[in-house]
């Protein structure tokens, strides 16, 4: 049965549109201040204009790149460290307490430290992003690597696999569902921190775009920036879901 005319889906679109419509009407009737809440049409016009003249692509690219690099760095370190900690009781006893202590620190709090070491640079931004984004991946990896079914570990021993083969063929694939879930949360954090570091350090990007739009009271630009940010967040999440469905194909098969 074709789902083209699913009434609920239609209703949800109508709902979203009516919110925008109400906003537009309020704005037109000057019931809400155009300074703070420019009408959707105005925002759309600005968005169109800036997409056409290219002034939104650079910030978008900059934020995306920072977010991605920071996330990749966090992922690699997180998975490697997680593998080491998750598969060794000693490593866990040694490292757990100190990690538990550092974890609750808001990543943005290390921005001043990062600025002292690295200045107001892209390196600073990527470092802060990596610091904040590593936790979900690390915790998920530790959990994944320490939950390999003992039967599989035994099979590995009986077959005579060394540590490297065990990690590669058995532990890592076994931990992968957990790791991917962690990667997803990490990516969301990476986006947030990219925006924060941009606002803090005036590095070109969507965060800074929104920040400076506010300074100039150009609220339509501000909203346009928010829309781009929403799209970036949505797109990034979608990429992970695609990755997940590829890599974890075996989870979705039905008997």
């Amino acid at each position: 049965m074709r789902r083209l005319f699913d009434p609920i889906a239609l209703a949800s679109l109508v709902f979203a549109f009516s919110l925008l419509l109400a906003w537009q009407l309020f704005a037109d009737a000057h019931l809400i201040s155009p300074i703070f809440f420019p009408s959707p049409l105005h925002t759309l016009a600005v968005l169109e204009h800036r997409l056409a003249d290219g002034s939104l692509w650079l910030p978008l690219a900059a934020t995306s790149l920072r977010m991605t690099f920071g996330w990749l760095l966090a992922s690699v370190i997180g998975i490697v460290l997680g593998a080491a900690i998750g598969s060794s009781r000693v490593a866990r006893d040694l490292l757990d307490p100190i990690l538990e202590f550092i974890r609750p620190l808001p990543a943005s709090a290390v921005i001043p430290v990062a600025i002292l070491f690295l200045g107001l640079s892209n390196a600073m931004s990527v470092a802060v992003i990596a610091f904040g984004a590593i936790w979900p991946v690390l915790l998920a990896s530790v959990h994944g690597f320490s939950s390999v079914p003992p039967e599989l570990a035994n099979v590995s021993q009986v077959l005579g696999f060394g540590r490297a083969d065990y990690l590669r063929k058995i532990a890592f694939p076994s931990a992968l569902p957990d790791i991917v879930a962690g990667l997803r949360v990490s990516l969301a954090i990476a986006l947030i921190l990219a925006v924060v570091t941009e606002m803090q350090s005036s590095l070109p990007g969507l965060g800074w775009d929104i920040f400076s739009a506010q300074r100039l009271y150009r609220s339509a630009d501000l909203y346009a920036g928010l829309v781009m940010l929403a799209l970036l967040g949505f797109g990034a999440n979608h990429m992970i879901m695609l990755l997940e469905s590829r890599v974890l194909r075996w989870r979705n098969v039905r008997t």
Binding site: I8, A11, S12, L13, F15, A16, L19, I35, F36, V90, D93, L94, L95, D96, P97, I98, E100, F101, I102, R103, P104, L105, P106, A107, S108, A109, V110, I111, P112, V113, I115, L116, F117, A188, L191, I192, V195, V196, M199, Q200, L206, G207, I210, F211, A213, Q214, R215, Y217, S219, L222, G225, L226, L229, A230, G233, F234, N237
Partner: protein
């Protein structure tokens, strides 16, 4: 006991190496300071009240935002949870708004509220509402159908049904969402203070950095870690003992 000792090895070694190499001149980065100096600065900040004042400021704003998010999130979540059609209609709009980081709204909030508590609390509220909302919807949906039938048979008015049946039944899961949101609230509050708001622990951190009071800056970082750690500890304790809230109702 053994775990305590093992866990202390690395921190003690690191701190010791840090202290020694700073004193002997092996490590000379100005941005690094020394554990002993950090302790001194931290002690000073504690005793002169500045650290505690900033902590109170941050915590009260975070709490305010959290409460606003809780009220809005639980009420809306309960409604959407009970009316699955409404939830599916509102779904895409929620999914469209959710990926926008709360801190992206800082400039907007600044325009509307100016500097101060409002700015910070509103951002905290926006950030915290999502986990609470989502968890509440799931929790309400998972309520045993029979409980709702009982409510119908007793012909309870809507608000009584909510308070006496729906919310207590969904409480355990909502609680988990609240704990997640509480942790988020602190992080977001500090972030807003670092970037914009001249108030609280985040602001003090920036001040120390700009004044190049490195020892104080590191001490504040340690303080933040401690704060977060204690908060997490409290939250897990609270999680265990809080079902009693619903008894008087």
């Amino acid at each position: 006991m053994r775990r305590l000792l093992l866990g202390a090895i690395i921190p003690v070694l690191l701190l010791g190496a840090w202290e020694i190499s700073s004193r002997t001149g092996l490590l000379t980065l100005e941005s690094l300071s020394r554990p002993s100096d950090i302790l001194v600065a931290g002690y000073a900040a504690l005793t002169d009240g500045s650290l505690l004042l900033a902590t109170v400021q941050t915590c009260e704003t975070a709490l305010l935002g959290l409460m606003m998010a809780a009220v809005f999130g639980i009420v809306l979540g309960a409604v959407l949870g009970l009316l699955p059609t409404a939830e599916r209609i509102a779904g895409p709009t929620i999914e469209a708004l959710r990926p926008i980081p709360a801190i992206a709204f800082m400039p907007l909030a600044l325009m509307v509220f100016g500097f101060g508590v409002g700015l910070e609390a509103s951002i905290v509220a926006y950030a915290c509402v999502w986990p609470i909302l989502i968890v509440t919807i799931a929790a309400v949906r998972a309520i045993e159908g029979r409980l709702l039938e009982v409510a119908a048979v007793l012909e309870l008015p809507v608000w009584k049904k909510m308070v006496k049946i729906v919310l207590p039944a969904a409480f355990a899961r909502i609680n988990v969402g609240l704990r997640v949101a509480a942790a988020i609230s602190l992080v977001v509050a500090v972030t807003v203070e670092i970037v914009l708001n001249p108030r609280g622990l985040g602001y003090r951190l920036i001040l120390a950095e700009q004044a190049l009071e490195i020892g104080l800056m590191w001490a504040q970082l340690v303080w933040l870690c401690l704060l977060g750690y204690v908060l997490n500890l409290l939250l897990s304790r609270v999680g265990r003992g809080s079902a009693a809230i619903w008894r008087p109702l």
